[in-house]
Symmetry: C2
Subunit: 143 residues, 2 copies
């Protein structure tokens, strides 16, 4: 399999496959006489693993850890779960942060006429005008 077919089969772009090789996430592919990379089912399997880990939001560093655990037949599943739960916590922290933004913005947008007049509580909030609307962003709306 050439890199294009491996890309097709794994869902990872050829650009990224080369990059993963360069940073040592996957081991260097064998080469044909014409210096083309060649891939077999095993390599594609690894690439799919990476693809799936990325789609679950794991960083490349975390993905590398998971990949090593996967290939370590004597791993303890606790180690895997630890990586996963840390990642869950991180995702939830970011979700909460963004949800706070959404709450604030929705409140402001609701208070905004959205008409032809220039008065706008959204801008007032951004400008630091402490109207009834704009409280601290991360805080829940409820008083």
């Amino acid at each position: 399999m050439n890199i294009g077919e491996a890309s097709e089969a794994s869902g990872v772009s050829a650009k990224m496959i080369r990059y993963y090789e360069e940073i040592g996430l996957v081991r260097p592919a064998a080469r044909t006489g014409n210096n083309y990379r060649i891939y077999g089912e095993d390599e594609v399997h690894v690439l799919r693993f990476v693809k799936r880990a990325r789609s679950l939001g794991f960083s490349l560093e975390e993905t590398e850890t998971l990949l090593k655990l996967w290939q370590d037949k004597s791993r303890e599943s606790a180690a895997v779960r630890q990586v996963a739960t840390a990642h869950i916590a991180d995702l939830e922290r970011r979700i909460a942060e963004m949800q706070g933004m959404v709450n604030t913005l929705k409140h402001l947008a609701q208070c905004c006429g959205g008409d032809h007049r220039p008065d706008c509580p959204i801008l007032d909030d951004l400008a630091g005008v402490s109207s009834a609307a704009g409280e601290s962003s991360a805080e829940p709306i409820a008083p």
Copy 2:
């Protein structure tokens, strides 16, 4: 006010103040004879506006739009609200995406023994082993 004081007063790092000037987000500060940037209350106000917009997750590009609307006294509040609602939609899309990851991961982590044995549904999912656990990541858990 020197840049350090303006940074203190606005909560924007000196590094970022210079960067915002470089990319044209804020207009170039006046300079003293010794080539130091000088800031007044107005400039600090602008920087605080930027800081607040960033803390609500607006990109620098969106922030620039909002900044222009803020300074345009004949703006229509509808334009502001449009920017805000588009941003809300984007945030909510990203939240939903991450929540999907969390749901999948929590399910997998729950099915994982997390003990000394190597068997691990999390790795099975990443490896594409279609166990009872690992369905498509963005899907809700409910059957």
